[in-house]
């Protein structure tokens, strides 16, 4: 089975190291989620996979440009063209013949639910519809590797569910799909997840592997537990106990990827036991009140 991706990737912008030793493997027919906040390195990684950024070190395996689909963050469509024109333009750019194009555009309009809007200017679509159009354009030529930069940012939950259905459908047709997002609940749908933090891989693996690899114990309580790094989850507190013991007044909880990423960030920021850069602030610190 073909696997696209990268190994030991380092990318520099001038003196700034944007990515350091990042690896990602995306087999055909799977969805990989790349997660991180603003500035974590998601876009740089996706650009390197798409071949628009040259790495300083490491290797990238990607198909020929004609077998690659890439949607950058932002509009990703020609706002002055209609939905139909956008799709035809993308299809022609990838060398589809007129007959293939007609069939493919029809199928894509149907699948994305954009058929009723085919004559509308792309600039007049809602954010969710525009993202669906950008995705349809990127898969018009049935790419082997599909790379999408935050397709669901600013998109409402109904459109988000539809976008993920379209991603899954591309994977079901055999594409390797890489999708960047800032939200870990989305990553739980993917076959593998890579969490980036300041240009480095914080967590990587299948969601189950990432959860299983989280050391110590995550607990929950009604009050902020003493002596361990803690964070809010709804009205309650969660805390990470490195030695696996539950502090008084807390009970162990089943963790999700959000907890796993928080624990990984806390461990990274502490730089080992005892160190503390921004983990576990005392209550009320940094408040405006």
């Amino acid at each position: 089975m073909t696997a696209w991706g990268c190994q030991g990737l380092r990318v520099r912008y001038g003196d700034t190291v944007a990515l350091e030793d990042v690896s990602l493997e995306v087999p055909a027919g799977t969805v990989a989620a790349v997660v991180g906040g603003d500035g974590a390195g998601k876009t740089t990684l996706l650009r390197a996979l798409a071949g628009t950024v040259r790495p300083a070190a490491g290797t990238v395996r990607r198909p020929d440009r004609r077998r690659l689909g890439y949607v950058s963050a932002g509009p990703g469509v020609w706002t002055d063209l209609t939905v139909d024109e956008n799709l035809s333009f993308a299809g022609r750019a990838y060398g589809l013949t007129a007959d293939d194009l007609e069939v493919r555009v029809g199928a894509l309009l149907e699948r994305t639910g954009l058929a009723a809007a085919r004559d509308r200017l792309a600039g007049r679509l809602s954010g969710g519809m525009r993202q669906k159009l950008a995705l349809a354009m990127a898969v018009a030529h049935e790419p082997e590797l599909l790379v999408l930069d935050e397709p669901t940012t600013g998109v409402d939950p109904v459109s988000r569910a539809e976008l993920w259905r379209l991603l899954a459908s591309a994977a079901a047709d055999g594409a390797a799909v890489v999708v960047a997002t800032t939200y870990l609940d989305e990553a739980e749908r993917a076959a593998t997840v890579l969490v980036l933090d300041r240009g480095r891989a914080l967590l990587a693996g299948t969601p189950d592997e990432v959860l299983a690899a989280t050391p110590g114990l995550v607990v929950e309580g009604a009050a902020r537990p003493e002596g361990v790094p803690s964070w809010r989850r709804g009205a309650r507190w969660r805390a990470w106990s490195p030695d696996g013991s539950a502090p008084p007044g807390t009970t162990p909880v089943a963790i999700d990827l959000e907890d796993a990423a928080i624990v990984a960030q806390l461990r990274h920021d502490r730089g080992g036991p005892g160190g503390s850069r921004r983990g576990g602030p005392p209550a009320n610190r940094g408040r405006a009140a």
């Binding site: 600013g154 409402d156 569910a161 993917a190 928080i262 009140a289």
Partner: protein, 288 residues
């Protein structure tokens, strides 16, 4: 704490807003009491922004009423309100400290004390700050005049999980100090942090209550199969709202027998089971 026994800080009572023939908000009831965090969620066009604009006093209702602190929205009620737009509302060409001073002057408040990383960045231009720090600056400014009601639009969009948890610590702290908080968000993981949720669909309240109350006994069908690709394509082409989670498929609101029949007709071997729906699955069914 029993928020229900107090007069709400903000209330929409059968609030309605029409634009010409179009009813965008249709008889919506919503309250925010002191000490509680209420989430307002809905698809685009569901009426969230129009409802928020009415609650902020920027738009008059066409029917029903909106009350802030027990009276109609006015300049006076505005002073007790903290609003954090998704765009953050900061002046990018001013420093953090200048933004804070400007806002304090507008509200006639003493301003906030900047601490930690934010204090180190006090003389930096807002446009030079990373998004996480910009969000924290916007929070500090929105909270500087100790508002009784906080209205937050996508408050943690774009930040990493730990930074998101820290922002929620601030939101929760405000609520524990007695503020009422109204959060609008497209992210259901964020919505699940709220005490109570109001789901808008096509201008009306489609559901309201705690997350568990909203999910209720809604179910989804879970499909486990070694050939998920074939199963996915079959169910997708049949028009079912199928989703992929890892290598498992889920179909919210579907009948297991129907799914089973579609798959066996297509020659796909699969284990099909009815399971409790997730919040997101329930929401998509409600909002669609």
């Amino acid at each position: 704490m029993s928020p229900a026994t107090r007069e709400p800080l903000a209330a929409a009572i059968a609030a309605t807003r029409r634009f010409g023939d179009l009813t965008v908000v249709d008889a919506v009831d919503l309250t925010v009491a002191a000490g509680e965090v209420v989430g307002l969620i809905g698809a685009n066009g569901a009426g969230k922004t129009t409802l928020i604009r009415m609650l902020l006093g920027l738009l008059a209702p066409s029917g029903g009423q909106v009350r802030l602190f027990g009276e109609p929205p006015s300049r006076r009620t505005r002073a007790r309100l903290g609003y954090l737009p998704q765009s953050l509302g900061l002046y990018e060409d001013l420093t953090v400290a200048e933004n804070l001073a400007f806002s304090a002057a507008a509200y006639g408040s003493a301003g906030a004390t900047l601490e930690g990383e934010l204090a180190e960045a006090r003389d930096a231009l807002v446009r030079d700050l990373p998004l996480g720090l910009r969000r924290r600056a916007a929070f500090a400014i929105a909270l500087a005049h100790h508002p009784d009601l906080l209205v937050l639009d996508e408050p943690t969009s774009g930040v990493d999980p730990l930074a998101r948890a820290r922002l929620w610590e601030t939101i929760r702290y405000s609520a524990e100090q007695g503020a009422g908080v109204l959060v609008t968000t497209h992210h259901l993981a964020e919505a699940s942090q709220c005490d109570r949720l109001v789901v808008l669909a096509a201008g009306r309240v489609a559901a309201a209550g705690t997350l568990a109350e909203i999910v209720g006994d809604a179910t989804a069908v879970e499909v486990r199969t070694p050939t998920w690709e074939a199963a996915f394509t079959t169910l997708d082409l049949a028009g079912l709202p199928v989703s992929l989670v890892g290598r498992t498929l889920r179909v919210p609101g579907a009948d297991p027998a129907t799914v089973d029949r579609l798959l066996s007709d297509a020659g796909v071997t699969a284990e099909v089971a009815r399971v409790p729906a997730s919040f997101e699955e329930t929401f998509v069914v409600l909002a669609a």
